[in-house]
Amino acid sequence: MNYHASSVGATRYVGERTPRKEDGRLLTGRGQFTDDVQLPGMLHIAFVRSPVARGRIASINLDVAREMPGVQAIYTQDDLAAIPVQMMSFFFTPIESPVTLLADGRVACVGDPVCMVIAESRAQAEDAAALVELEIEEEAPVVTIADARTGPLVHPDKDDNIAAEMGDEDMLEEAIQPLLDKAPHVVTHTIRHQRIAQSPMECRACVASPEGSGEMTVWMGCQSPHLAARYVALVMGLPQESIRVIAKDVGGGFGLKNIPWREEVAVVVAARLFGRPLKWIEDRYEALTASSHAREQEVSLTIGLDDEGKLLAGWSDYACNNGAWPMGEDANIAVHMFMWPAYKLPAYGFVTRGWYTNTMGLGGYRGPWAMESLIRETTLDKAARKMGIDPVELRRKNLIYLPDQPVTSNMGIEVTDITPGECLEKLVANVDIAAFRKEQAEARKQGRYLGMGIATYIEPTGSAGAMAPMTGETVQLRIEPTGKVVAMLSTHSQGHGTATTMAQVIAEQLGVAYEDISVFEGDSAIGAFSPGAAGSRQGVIAGGATWKATEILAEKVKAVAAHLSNAPVDAVTIDGGMVHVEGAPEMSRSLKELAEIAYGEPARLPEGMASGLEAQFRYQPPPMTMTSAAHCCVVEVDAETGFVKILRWISSEDCGTVINPGVVEGQIAGGLAQAIGQVLLEDMPYDARGNPLAATFKDYLMPTISDVPDFEYLHANTPSQTIGGMRGVGEGGAIIGPPTLVNAIADALAPFGELGGETGEVTLPLTPSRILDVIEQRDVSGHHAPAEKTVAAPVAEEAPAEPVAEAPAPAPALAAASIDGDWDMTLKAPMGGQTFLAHFETDGTALSGYLSAPEGQQDFSGGTFEDGRMKFEVKVDKPMKVTLKYDLQASGDTITGKCKMGMFGTAKVNAVRA
């Protein structure tokens, strides 16, 4: 639906490059970031962090540090434990690792916080922190994914180093390999993605001020004050209303600040214990080495194609490094869910695992599942080169266009209005590819290597209703007695400009001047729960909520004006802050005049109408809204130096209704700059002893203005099914950017062979030295194996010699003891481990019972029980409709086995007698 047609005001704001409301304060140094908050009596925190990756804490000596000037207290985990905390993931499921706010007896990564020093100034806190004597018995660490497969346990109480696991290994042999065997063309590609330090310009920050008996005001660098307040209250077991979180200005989030993590919660707990306002401002060294990292992953994809280039089948093996303390154990199932909905691929299977290691924990970073586009689009280009097909043609043969829809992907994702094909056609129509190929051929004769890369993708945005925090948005709107408009939202801008875009929607729909609208956000005390900036959702959901709330308010204004003028409602229009009655210019009133009546003289309102001019609307959008895009970039690779220069970059994206092109393009460009960083520059390597090796911005190379080209934009505007028709655009650049650039570099280097050489492995970032490896045909995998470990002796704990068993074979049926009764069962589900009560009843070989959790109970029947083997099915509706097929083996007081979860693959199940 085209909502422009039903706008109230005549003046256009939606679609305009309206200057941002946020800029006034931010440009003049008058924003309020967390470190700008000063409170009377406020004390400062510095953390003491582990200098070793793995070991037992033998002793902590605080004697000298405590005597330092200004020191008020030094806390260890023993002190903080006075307030019990259960850390949760973004999905409000318990973290499965034994994570505590400060290290509890052992350290599991360099940077693990061990003590917190509270002093009168930051400098005094740091002075004292340096004098804490920490004795740790160092053990050989598990650093890489390869280490994790065979090394000692990162968390000694776990069965193995698998943090999360899904997929169905059997499917390769049963379903996929036969199709690949028959395929005329089979291509395999592997990518090793380096570790990324998220690096928002403002590091993490928290000020906690205890008030009254149990209340607390917290200023925090976060992506949603509402989510932060709910999270802190939840993990501490407090009523949510007791915590107020304020975050007026936040200097970038990117996923790192999705949830408060150990340090922020430790500050809140310490403020409660100590009873004084406390401030912690992370420094850049901490931010680089001890803020949750992202992306380190390895993925292989094999695809089979027919002679025309049509996809026949695909198989992927994915692994990501979760570090020691991930913000949620993650096998990144979304990589597989979103790898193929934009393409016609009949059969797909995968295994996907997250591994614990003794490195800093994993956090979500702009498009956390982005590897799906990177591996798919680079594999397609490799196939195109191998088969001698034009990469655009190969995509045309397999992409889904509008007439193909609705269609459901091999993973059960239904798409109804995606436009990756249409975006590609628009892109191709605006880029003279033939001319480029000519130029490329000429250049090669002169020893200059030009390359063009193209990629297409879709992105799930505005998710709502399927996962705990991902929900709708509430907008509260009023016209003040002054005639000015005030909106209270739960949106949050870490640069998103939500006050701007929401004010544009209000201005257009209400017929008031943009300048007369004030938007309040950034405070959990106003608005209602929403997760703020997470999953490219604010423009879609808050935009829709604002659109509708404004319509409701406009209706009321018109009803009041019609009543006062004794005119039909249809005759009333609002424009430029004036309310007009058609055919009766003398009846025109300003909104101020009308508002004064609505607030001050309610007797003049229509009978039964509430006084005032207010409206509220909570919008629950469709469960998911898809954004599509195709990008093209042109590079020149210097064969002498290995440097890559980006000559041109064109984005053809469809994010539906564009509220503000300046904001939309800003989101795309920011994501693309991060993509360029990932492909060419940024890297957070670890040495064999688990030391992070990039400690400053001189080692961790952030893209600068000279690394990023001018981007060109082609906007397609297929309105979505949401109110207003917006589609999310926050993460897209970071998702489609890497494959676009890698494909361009691979195209440029084609005369020298495949980017990944014969082994088919591409390792990011593509530094000049790695590119020279390709050009000079040296170690062409581009992957330098890490040096042999030379961990200094003595090492307390020897690694077990045998590899960790992946999935223990079901024990041979022992005496099939009765399984009747209650069991505590754990399922490694997509959003983290889920624990519930399982009740079984047997009658001969018939099995029935129920699974019960606080969210509800699901009964099942029709299962079988033979020789200890239990098979049964349970249908669930959340997060999606899926039938869970359990195949378990009971042995004494334990049950182990697996559960097939439809599109989510297979998950491990464990149970013990309740």
């Binding site: 490059r17 200057p19 941002r20 946020e22 800029d23 304060r25 931010l26 440009l27 003049t28 140094g29 008058r30 924003g31 970031f33 470190d35 700008d36 400098a123 690096s199 928002p200 310009m201 403002e202 590091c203 200005d249 936040v250 200097g251 970038g252 990117f254 420094d283 850049r284 801008s493 870490q494 640069g495 998103h496 400009g497 300046g662 904001v663 393009e665 800003g666 795309i668 460009a669 920011g670 994501g671 693309l672 700059a673 991060q674 400053t696 911005f697 001189k698 952030m702 600068t704 203005i705 000279s706 990023v708 001018d710 981007f711 650049g733």
Partner: protein, 157 residues
């Protein structure tokens, strides 16, 4: 810690204070004088967010000690706009071109570009981009900043 008395002007206002020798100028401006528009983002001289103008020269206030600013005239981002609120042309260009998102790096960017134009009112695009290469912005992908620079150089943005 040794303490020293310093006198300086910030945005035309005279200030006297006693500071520890180790206090950086950036920290002193923020904590000591309340000019919180100056942002400390790396504290090792790479990112440029903390840039202030010291006696007409753009300096990283994280790498300069407060005691070194004794007797100096300093301009922070709070001092760029006119007292009546009219934005400096650098601020206006950044605003016109979506040259900022989260705004954390922006004060340093604005001071650097204002200083380049102070030194040479007809500075070229490439001169300003070169100065900008000493700043890190994580949000914008530099597109709006680049357009702002073109506008400041009198070219089509």
């Amino acid at each position: 810690m040794s303490e020293h008395k310093i006198d300086l002007t910030v945005n035309g206002h005279r200030h006297s204070a006693t500071v520890e020798a180790r206090t950086s100028l950036g920290e002193f401006l923020r904590e000591g004088l309340g000019y919180t528009g100056t942002h400390l983002a790396c504290e090792h001289g790479v990112c440029g967010a903390c840039t202030v103008r010291v006696d007409g020269v753009a300096m990283r206030s994280c790498l300069m000690l407060a005691v070194q600013a004794n007797g100096c005239a300093i301009t922070t981002v709070e001092g760029l706009a006119k007292p009546d609120g009219t934005l400096h042309r650098v601020q206006q260009a950044l605003k016109d071109n979506f040259g900022l998102q989260c705004g954390f790096c922006t004060p340093g960017v604005a001071i650097t570009l204002a200083t380049v134009l102070e030194d040479n009112p007809s500075a070229t695009t490439s001169e300003m981009e070169e100065a900008m290469s000493g700043h890190i912005c994580r949000c914008t992908g530099y597109q709006g900043i680049r357009r702002a620079i073109r506008q400041l150089a009198g070219e089509p943005a």
